[in-house]
Subunit: 217 residues, 2 copies
DNA sequence: ATTACTAAGTTCCGAGTAC
DNA sequence: TGTACTCGGAACTTAGTAA
């Protein structure tokens, strides 16, 4: 919506239909719409000036009809809301705010032993760097719990031990070569999520620190 | 609709979905909704006080979620509009204002030669009297043109000639034992339609002179 | 009976600012 | 960074009327 007098327009659509002429009057409408006759008079004029309705004086009031412009607007409005009702009803998602890349992930992404496992398990060669985002710790846990787990194993070399990490395939808008990674023993705060992908996500999605992102399952 | 801040609520539904928590802030929303941070702040409080959203302060802003009350309201809103889009898209109708019974029809309804034809062609015995309504002359013609014609024949007795009339089955709300009659040579103004039915319509539908009616095909 | 103008009353918005 | 308060002005509504 975001259109002046849209509420009245919707009411008129329900009263008159989209392609019908409708005999009514400002007084009648004011009773039905719970406002004054003067307000209806003004609103009808505004709707007419904006090309949303057509009016003709009639034997006792006004004959009015919604224009094609109104029909399009209303159809569009309904379509948008239908999407919300259907797709979003049970869609899993997680929102957060892009933050600077201090996560552990960047380190993992430089080690061939990890990279090989990513390639094998995710089907893409990850970009050398992670996109970090701050989110709600509890939500992050709940979100990842509901997704199929891809386990990336840790390993040892002569000097030290490298920990394993959890990995989950997710989506960002329509982009689905994307995985959320959560180190098994992370040293940074767990309100941060890390994303890996074959592309440089900051560039691809024009992201800056503070940009809001919404990842879905 | 007719609900305060409904516009913002719809926006939030599109942004956050119906069952999801959503990380955002008053500033972010103010940019997206084209108003000030203060206005969003107030509107969110109002929505919260009315039980349409729930909010929790979060690491950098607010986590918000629509309540079940919002979901119901929005679903209802969409349902109503869907009805408009589907049923009303090509529904034929005619609106008018009940007027006093000075039409010719009352006379016809008293003559057995006509009554027999009505019974045969319409399947009901008409109430002795017509319900007259004023409407737009052109609309009346256009409406009746699109309906199947039932012809009621005129006749002669020793004294004079009685003219024929056109008859069309129509509906008033869910009531469909109803016919619109148009005398072939009418003496009254043709912006008046006449309805016959087995019942006394004024009583059945609590109609007075001036009441608006909408008949459909 | 309408519609619509003006003027006054009311609501709403946002800049400034506190926290 | 955030949210939310105050308050002056803008926007909207309506009573009284004219046409």
């Amino acid at each position: 919506m975001r259109q002046k007098n849209f509420g009245l327009l919707l009411y008129l659509a329900q009263k008159c239909g989209l392609n019908n002429k409708c005999e009514t009057s400002t007084i009648e409408l004011s009773h039905e719409f719970n406002c004054s006759q003067q307000t209806i008079s003004r609103k009808l004029r505004e709707l007419q000036e904006s090309g949303f309705i057509e009016r003709n004086p009639s034997f006792a009031g006004t004959e009015l009809m919604l224009t094609q412009k109104s029909a399009s607007l209303i159809k569009n409005h309904v379509n948008q809301l239908q999407k919300v009702l259907s797709s979003n009803a049970n869609a899993l998602n997680l929102t957060g705010k892009v933050s600077s890349g201090l996560g552990e992930g960047n380190y993992y992404m430089s080690l061939p032993q990890y990279i090989k496992q990513f390639e094998k398990n995710l089907g893409f060669k990850p970009f050398p760097g992670t996109l970090n985002f701050k989110t709600n710790q509890f939500e992050l846990e709940e979100f990842s719990k509901k997704l199929p787990l891809i386990e990336i194993k840790g390993f040892k070399d002569k000097k030290r031990t490298f920990g394993g990490l959890k990995c989950f395939k997710v989506r960002l808008q329509n982009y689905d070569d994307l995985a959320l990674i959560i180190p098994n023993r992370s040293s940074h705060k767990s309100n941060t999520g890390e994303l890996i992908a074959p592309d440089y996500l900051r560039e691809k999605f024009k992201l800056k620190n503070g940009s809001r992102i919404k990842i879905t399952a």
